[in-house]
Symmetry: C2
């Protein structure tokens, strides 16, 4: 991590741990530069990160202020972090349901703008919090970008493996959200009555070179999944 990222992380951590209320004024840019013994430019970069993450807001001529913290237990929609890394909850577990190497189904090829002859890893997992099913996930990874994936990696955090193991830089993502009723298979895994409400989220992930490499369909439990978004 670069210096400005470390400082951003520290300030964010302080706000969260101390439960600092919305509207609390932070030290000035000069004071922060002095406190962390860095240049004003570094602090400006730190503040840009904190602002885009929704931790602070800046009022011209007035100062830097703490933003309201999200309600507990909500999943943040804006981060590309992978499921188990985002929730504040302890006790997030993932159960591998299926793992295979296949040719791209038409839906995947269409969303990732590739040929149906391309090879993909298909991974189905069930994410739970404290043994409560939250999300049934069906993911497809393009092998030309993700050359290797195994059952044991899929049982762990795929996101950590992609970013730290394979050094893939995730650039951006598109997310499509809709509401529907559970199918029999989804009802079974989420442990809800047939035709229960559910939230569907389709995600397309791109490398920082703009290449789409991951298409994921998530089905969320209607009573146990809630989402948060700052803009």
């Amino acid at each position: 991590m670069l210096k400005y990222e470390i400082i951003a992380h520290e300030i964010e951590h302080d706000i969260r741990i101390n439960n600092t209320p919305q509207g609390t004024k932070l030290p000035s840019i000069n004071q922060l530069a002095e406190k962390y013994d860095v240049s004003k430019n570094t602090i400006l970069k730190t503040l840009a990160v904190l602002e885009s993450n929704g931790n602070i807001y800046q009022v011209q001529g007035s100062g830097i202020f703490v933003r309201q913290q999200k309600r507990k237990g909500y999943i943040t929609l804006l981060q590309n972090k992978g499921f188990s890394d985002d929730l504040d909850y302890p006790g997030v577990t993932s159960q591998l349901i299926s793992f295979s190497k296949i040719k791209a189904p038409l839906e995947v090829a269409t969303n990732l703008q590739c040929d149906i002859t391309e090879d993909f890893y298909k991974v189905e997992r069930l994410h739970s919090i404290m043994d409560q099913a939250i999300c049934l996930e069906e993911s497809y990874y393009k092998t030309s970008v993700v050359p290797f994936l195994s059952q044991s990696i899929a049982e762990d955090s795929i996101f950590q493996y992609l970013t730290k193991g394979l050094n893939i830089n995730i650039g951006f993502s598109d997310k499509y959200i809709s509401i529907g009723k559970t199918t029999d298979e989804i009802s079974h895994y989420l442990e809800v009555p047939k035709h229960s409400p559910m939230l569907n989220m389709e995600e397309i992930y791109y490398t920082n070179n703009g290449e789409p490499f991951d298409f994921t369909k998530n089905h969320y439990h209607y009573e146990h999944a809630q989402f948060f978004l700052q803009s």
Copy 2:
């Protein structure tokens, strides 16, 4: 609008109208500066706007590229634009269901961090597209920030009135999304069977001074509302 915003708007408009495919390379910064007869700095600001709106991505040492356009008919979650201004659809209409001036209900006071003695305008509206109900909206506006609101304004775009009429600068917003089942009242307005799935979105809007002034609860039709988000 400032010069860099006008140029950003023009480039975004060109991409949309021409349906420019994902990955199309745009001219370089120097070429854009020359084309629009502005400084390189202005173009850098333009590109920052286009990037944060999800219209382009930049690859270091390689260039500026067009991002995929969202699927048609999806509501963009990241913009603070007001319902009728966002959808690509023609034929968006809003029907005023109730309009009143009240003391803050506890839920509103809690979310906007104000006293229950504060005065609020309460507005209930039904938004439809091509006569199909999409969203039942219940909004509360703090009178200390929004001193005047009328039935006829509420029948039109409140967002336009706030930003252009009252010159309120909307700074940021928090959105909380959950899934549920429709109540009898909501079923009636959305014209769905009782206990149908629905998406609930609670929104808190802040001025650019960080003052929360609008709390809105939206209930979306499960077959007709879909959402889009870029991160």
